[in-house]
């Protein structure tokens, strides 16, 4: 056994290297500087049949092996780390799950154009609360007839917004952790599917990375990938393979930096000879080459295992972890060898140094890779009392279900305009109003001041806004009690007045618990505060992060319709009741004692995991209370 690639592999490498050197290398610096996606080069890669290397020809792929794919990523990354990840995310993350879990129809519709390179693919798993721990996924998909309604968002999504097809993960069964996650194929351009800004990244700047926003996106039922609840399994097996792509990318980046360093060490002459022949530098090069060889064997071996359908989860984790760890070391040494020149923009090693960093982070941080490797060796850790966050227990906002739309786009004036637009759409009529001194408990609308209002003269801003909004004036407890800006009977909160009307505009109020409890029945809560982290923003329907001195006059002007008509008797706008999680399956009652089997809880004493449906219980399972058999249970 020679641990060598085949001639075919090396021919493919030569072909891709030639392409990368000719098509990408000349523009790599420009792409990096301008944060620009190499549309043209990617299109050509598709034409060359390289966007679907590991997929069968019948699905538009090249029908080559996983190692060929790893070589392709490596060679692209060798000249540009960003180009490497475009291919890796497209193949491993955007296309592979459809190949592995898709129906024939899904493969024909989505995989074929992806493999042919006519379309670009991406993968949406990461969320603000769900990175390494997918159990924290908050994006939801609710089945409504023949489609799912997708809501939520994803962050740091590679190839977005360039990609046409997104494999997106969302919770279909809440409160049971990772087993409640499902995968969907979502197309760019569908109603309610938006992109956030293209991130300004440290490295791999030629790859596009953006936020995905789902606002009531209707996903046809047939775009469910696999079965409901399969999402976590699909995500994990996709990432198992994806690691080979990232490992290959890290290897390529390191190889590129190494090649540049070796060349430079032969050219740069100090003390009368090329620095490469100074022992300090030669040892560095020896170390770098050794690390590269190690990494390459790990990567290629993992790819071969995958191709042979042998278990490769641990090996791909080792490859990803090691290749990316040494990519940092190798690019660091390569830059060091370049000396001051390497520190300059435009130098390949400077870019490689920045590009390398992400490879220890994404598609599973190297810390998570170690968790994966260790779990393959040691098995599952004993259950800890604290439990994993795969059973999310997030406290609901005190004010209940809120829209939490934070208006960030555009200038403050545009934000205010957007707010007024929302309020009018919700049915608030600003041609009518109530007297400013209406008791809080009877007020339909209240404009309320918190400590963030500042000096007492700023209460004028509150009064002006109250007048323009046809609202009464309220305050937080300190504003009445300590600052004494308003009488004590005007402070809103648990211990003070409860506001149960339709519109509450909280100005400079941070949102202490006792205050929030006093407004939890408000139909609409608007928050205006300089501190984006203030609790009020988690408890509001609409929010503007900004200074009251700037926002309030704008809002006053926007709402001012001159003299208000007296408001008709208030019609309370309905507040939604917090949705209850749907049961994951029926409960069953024992005919021997009345014990109730609850699938959400399982039967821990018999090692039946929470979430196990009654029909999935082993046949020899017996009632934990009276030992009656499964057959004596009836559906509750």
């Amino acid at each position: 056994m020679l641990f060598q690639t085949t001639q075919a592999h090396e021919e493919l490498r030569a072909k891709i290297r030639a392409f990368a050197e000719e098509e990408i290398k000349p523009i790599a610096f420009m792409l990096d500087q301008q944060n620009e996606f190499p549309d043209e080069a990617i299109r050509k890669l598709g034409e060359m049949g390289l966007m679907g290397i590991p997929f069968p020809k019948e699905y538009g792929g090249a029908g080559l092996d996983a190692l060929s794919y790893a070589i392709a990523v490596e060679e692209l990354a060798r000249v540009d780390g960003g180009a490497g990840v475009i291919l890796s995310a497209h193949v491993s993350l955007g296309s592979w799950p459809i190949f592995a879990y898709g129906t024939e129809e899904q493969k024909q519709k989505y995989l074929v154009p992806l493999a042919k390179g006519e379309k670009i693919g991406a993968f949406g798993l990461t969320e603000p609360s769900a990175g390494s721990d997918a159990g924290g996924t908050e994006t939801t998909a609710v089945l409504k007839g023949d489609h799912y309604v997708l809501n939520g968002g994803k962050i740091f999504i590679t190839n977005a917004p360039k990609a046409d097809t997104y494999v997106v993960f969302a919770v279909t069964t809440p409160d049971i952790g990772t087993r409640g996650i499902s995968a969907f194929i979502v197309e760019k351009g569908w109603k309610g599917f938006y992109f956030g800004d293209h991130y300004d990244k440290m490295g791999i700047r030629s790859s596009s990375t953006a936020e995905l926003i789902f606002d009531n996106v209707e996903v046809p039922k047939e775009n469910l990938l696999g079965k409901e609840g399969d999402g976590f399994k699909i995500a994990m097996s996709t990432l198992d393979g994806g690691r080979i792509g990232i490992a290959a990318q890290a290897l390529g980046i390191a190889q590129g930096a190494y090649d540049a360093a070796v060349a430079y060490s032969k050219e740069r002459i100090q003390f009368g000879k090329p620095i490469g022949f100074q022992q300090a530098i030669s040892f560095k090069i020896a170390d770098m080459a050794t690390k590269l060889r190690c990494a390459r064997f790990l990567v290629y071996s993992a790819a071969e295992l995958k191709e042979a359908h042998a278990p490769y989860g641990m090996e791909s984790a080792m490859a990803k972890m090691y290749a990316s760890d040494i990519a940092l070391e190798v690019t660091n040494d390569a830059l060091q060898i370049h000396g001051g020149a390497g520190f300059m923009k435009g130098m390949e090693v400077e870019r490689a140094y920045r590009d390398a960093k992400i490879t220890t982070i994404y598609e599973g941080t190297n810390e998570i890779q170690r968790v994966v490797i260790a779990s393959h060796i040691l098995g599952k850790a004993p259950k800890s009392a604290g439990g994993s966050s795969s059973r999310p227990k997030k406290p609901a906002p005190i004010t209940g279900v809120r829209k939490k739309v934070i208006l960030r786009d555009g200038s403050p004036a545009e934000q205010v305009a957007a707010l007024v637009e929302h309020l009018k759409k919700d049915g608030h009529d600003f041609t009518v109003g109530i007297p400013m001194d209406t008791p809080i408990a009877q007020a339909e609308r209240v404009v309320s001041a918190g400590k963030g209002i500042g000096e007492k003269e700023n209460m004028k801003l509150i009064e002006d806004l109250a007048k323009a909004a046809g609202a009464a004036v309220g305050s937080s407890r300190p504003v009445a009690e300590t600052l004494k800006y308003v009488p004590l009977n005007r402070y809103v909160g648990m211990s003070g007045q409860k506001f149960t009307g339709n519109l509450y505009i909280a100005c400079g109020i941070s949102g202490a618990v006792q205050h929030l409890k006093g407004i939890k029945d408000a139909s609409t809560i608007v928050a205006i505060n300089t501190n984006a982290g203030a609790p009020i923003f988690k408890n509001c329907d609409y929010g503007i992060v900004g200074d009251v001195n700037e926002i309030l006059p704008l809002l006053t002007a926007a709402l001012d319709t001159g003299e208000k008509q007296p408001a008709p008797p208030m019609v309370k706008m309905k507040r939604p009741r917090p949705p209850k999680p749907e049961p994951i399956g029926p409960r069953y009652v024992c005919g021997g004692c009345g014990y109730e089997y609850i699938p959400e809880l399982g039967d821990p004493d018999a090692d039946i995991a929470p979430g196990t449906l009654f029909e999935k219980l082993p046949e020899d399972w017996v009632c934990p209370e009276c030992a009656e058999s499964k057959s004596s249970f009836i559906e509750a």
Partner: protein, 408 residues
Amino acid sequence: MYCVRTVTKDLYWVGANDHRLTLFENIHPIPKGVSYNAYLLLDKKSVLFDTVDWSACRQLLENIEHLLGGKPLDYLVINHMEPDHGASIEEILLRYPEVQIISTEKAFLLMRQFGFHTDGHECIEVKEGDTFSFGDHSVTFVAAPMVHWPEAMVTFDTTNGVLFSADAFGSFIALDGKLFADEVDFDRDWIDEARRYLTNIVGKYGPHIQLLLGKAAGILDQIKYICPLHGPVWRKDLGYFIDKYDKWSRYEPEVNGVMIVYASMYGNTEAAAQALAAKLCERGITDVAVYDVSNTHVSYLIAESFKYSHIVLASVTYNLGIYPVMKNYLEDMKALNLQDRTFAIIENGSWACKSGDLMQTFIDEELKNMTVLNERLSLASSLQADKAAELDKLADALAESLAEAAHT
């Protein structure tokens, strides 16, 4: 002196009434007493269906002796082993040494556990669907697990259509001479106690009652008499009572109305509860019942909770918790499996008002499929004029929810 009544040809009620027992199962008050029903069939063979509580044993013995007229007792069918029916088994065995016992495997196990010495008697173990002939009369045994003990069965006499229904279709209240439901004004005088009996004793096992009702549905046209172990025998309008059982066991309210239960230390929370009741009646909602949780035995509260569609809980905060008696009521609702109700909450607290949140959490997390209206009334010590608007909103919300419930 014997005290028997004829149910139908060859079949006699040989049970007894009890007015001395204060607490049924030593927990539920029975101010109007209770009956322990046993039935004697005089066919070619003589058959006693169940026995009575130990306190009524002598009456049972006198009744049997009178009817048998010196003949031996041939069979003892035990449908339900709970001691208020099973405690006299051993005495019967001692007096009639040749009697053969017919019951389920689990019932025989329980007899041994309770120490009713069945050894030396022939024990005939029967299971679902088994039949037995006593001469002219043939019976079929039907398992009734968890109605409300696991060993329970019911026995159906296919000859005369008598269903010996064990604890199913029973009721509190002593018979006092009357035997048949059509001899009393059941819907006026008995239904509340029948409901209190069912919901408190068997309420938890709705699915199993449904299972039994399902089995009965198949032979409904053949059932002529329902002979329960407590309360009157049904021979007319069986559908009336079966329908009630169907509702209770599906946890479906009988009345679209409001039950207000208050926990009040000094009358302030009570005042709020009364104010709400008045506001509801002003809105035309007169199906309103108000209870003081401290002075009403929880079995009555449970029965009323099964009856009404909407429940308002008004509670003070006590040691930063729910008032203990109110907490006990909530726990009982959980134990008895009450579900599908709409709740509203009135909370009171003089410094740290916690009862509302705690009750809401209990309802949301411990009870099944309950709805809690958003409109909660919070009191600081007492209901003052400034809360009038909130009180109205609560009444409006209840009215609206009742109207919605009426439409569905």
